[in-house]
């Protein structure tokens, strides 16, 4: 059966060039980078090269780039590390209600252990306004953490402006850029951030490797304790093949940035246009203008998202949904809820994300199947335009 992958925000396939770069580090250059004999040098050198490649993508000095096991680890490091290093100043952290669970649940945990965490509300397109942030700042605020690009609706925050506000108050600023990397400009100097979380598997690299940018001079304690790896800042034998893959993926993302964005956004716009005009009672959630180039978060009224997902899956099309019925917790998407969207509407939302391997034919096929599926599910549904909710 035809397989059409439209969930690039969940993960991406590893590009063949990336895999090729990784493979020798499993069987040939397997030396521990911390060892002293000659066999360890290729792995040590490969990590240095990868660090330069990822640093190049975000325009930082390689010494400010630390590899981790994933984006979630980077986020945890920031919350625990800043809270610890700056605890004399205070115990207040500001973040947002639309963060990834790696921030939200870490914040909830810290609350249980005596810290005060504020989750900022967002507007109907998912934006944190400067006024809302400004109003939440207190003398004991030690960290402001705002995700750059939202994983569900693709909203791109004005990180530069928010970081300026933080710095005007002398507060450390972090952004979770896991969805942003490779998709929007992640130049840390232009953004003015102190800390930035990243992950390899969202940019056609392997799973199990992430990174944290720490601007020189930022007050943050270590999180993973042990050996002297990562300039004594992050213990644990390095995931050498993974790091090599991250480096290669970052180099490719840097080299092909403009064409990636152009390819994704033009296909995404074509898809959204077709769905919204050809299927009634549908609309796009989030911002049109400041949006992840591949993201289309669409509500299909009067039907439920898991049903849509299952039927698309039946035709080999992979997507995700904000519906409660598809989540382990049976609660609807916290992001769409925070944007003020009613629960019955959230249940009918599907997130489509296009990427480098997506073609116009894939999207035409998807729209054609979607039209049939939506009509069929509306036929089955107990609610409709005529009957209302």
């Amino acid at each position: 059966m035809k397989q059409i992958y439209l969930d690039y925000s969940a993960t991406t396939p590893v590009k063949p060039e990336v895999l090729d770069a990784m493979l020798p580090y499993f069987t040939e250059f397997y030396g521990n980078p911390s060892s002293l004999y000659d066999l360890s040098y290729p792995s040590k050198d490969a990590i240095a090269e990868a660090r330069g490649q990822v640093a190049g993508l975000i325009n930082c000095d390689p010494s400010e780039l630390f590899f981790t096991s994933c984006g979630s680890e980077s986020d945890n490091w920031v919350l625990f590390g800043v809270a610890d290093a700056q605890r004399k100043k205070g115990g207040h952290i500001i973040t947002t209600s639309i963060e990834h669970h790696a921030i939200l649940h870490t914040g909830d945990f810290q609350r249980k252990h005596g810290l005060d965490v504020t989750y900022l509300p967002v507007d109907e397109e998912g934006f944190i306004t400067p006024e809302v942030l400004e109003a939440a700042i207190r003398p004991d605020t030690v960290l402001i953490s705002v995700m750059y690009v939202n994983n569900e609706v693709g909203t791109v925050q004005n990180i530069k402006k928010l970081a300026e506000i933080a710095h005007a108050h002398g507060i450390t600023f972090h952004t979770d850029a896991v969805q942003a990397l490779g998709n929007v400009n992640c130049d840390v100097k232009e953004l003015g951030v102190d800390l930035m979380s990243m992950s390899a598997h969202k940019i056609y690299g392997p799973k199990g490797v992430g990174a944290l940018y720490i601007k020189k001079g930022t007050r943050i304690s270590n999180y993973l304790h042990g050996g002297a790896q990562e300039s004594k800042h992050r213990a644990g034998t390095e995931n050498v093949p993974g790091i090599v893959g991250f480096g290669k993926a970052a180099a490719l993302a840097n080299e092909h940035f403009a064409e990636h964005v152009q390819h994704s956004s033009s296909l995404r716009d074509y898809f959204v246009e077709r769905v919204l005009t050809e299927i009634p009672h549908t609309y796009l959630n989030g911002s049109r203008e400041h949006r992840h180039p591949g993201n289309a978060n669409i509500t299909f009224e009067y039907i439920e998202g898991e049903s849509i997902l299952l039927m698309l899956n039946h035709y080999g099309i992979s997507v995700s949904t904000g519906s409660a019925c598809s989540s382990a917790s049976l609660t609807p998407s916290h992001v769409l809820s925070a944007m003020g969207i009613p629960a019955e509407i959230i249940h009918g939302t599907i997130r489509f994300t296009v990427g480098d391997m997506t073609t116009k034919e894939d999207l035409d096929y998807t729209v054609d199947r979607l039209k049939e599926i939506v009509a069929k599910l509306r036929e089955i549904s107990a609610v409709s335009e005529e009957k209302g909710w």
């Binding site: 009067y302 039907i303 439920e304 898991e306 049903s307 299952l310 039927m311 039946h314 519906s323 409660a324 019925c325 598809s326 382990a328 049976l330 609807p332 009613p342 629960a343 019955e344 249940h347 036929e379 089955i380 549904s381 107990a382 609610v383 909710w389």
Partner: protein, 145 residues
């Protein structure tokens, strides 16, 4: 492992008895779109208290639609008292099982059936043993508890 087994997927992809019976003898609605699942069931009952037809409309996830479909199959031909005894456990068994997380939230059929029979009984001045103690206004609370 796939989320749903083949029986569930077959009932989901090709549900039986979809629709609404015109001028149905009984009608029941259970659940709410806010919770993510809502089912409407219509039934016809003959003079021998046998359910001769049953149709459903469901807003909901895969297991909500599949369980609605198989439940309508199961109760057509049953007497009203037999249908009142049908439990969600039996419906799930007939489907060959559902993921644990889906069991309590998405199977609306047993209550929807009771609602439809209650409506039929009210309209026709009938009483059934299986309806004793059933209060249609008290059912919303246990959904998505």
């Amino acid at each position: 492992m796939k989320m749903y087994n083949d029986t569930v997927m077959e009932h989901f992809m090709n549900p039986h008895n979809v629709g609404e019976i015109e001028n149905a003898d009984g009608e029941g609605i259970y659940g709410s779109p806010v919770c993510g699942d809502m089912m409407k069931m219509t039934i016809n009952v003959d003079e021998n208290d046998v359910i001769t037809d049953c149709k459903f409309k469901t807003f909901g996830c895969g297991s909500a639609i599949a369980s609605s479909s198989i439940a309508t199959d199961m109760i057509i031909g049953m007497t009203v008292e037999e249908a009142l005894k049908l439990t969600n456990e039996e419906i799930i068994e007939q489907l060959g099982g559902l993921p644990a997380i889906k069991i309590h939230c998405s199977v609306l059929a047993d209550t929807a059936i009771k609602m439809a029979i209650y409506d039929y009984a009210q309209k026709n001045g009938k009483t059934y043993k299986g309806l004793e103690g059933f209060d249609p206004n008290q059912t919303e609370d246990d959904h998505h508890a």
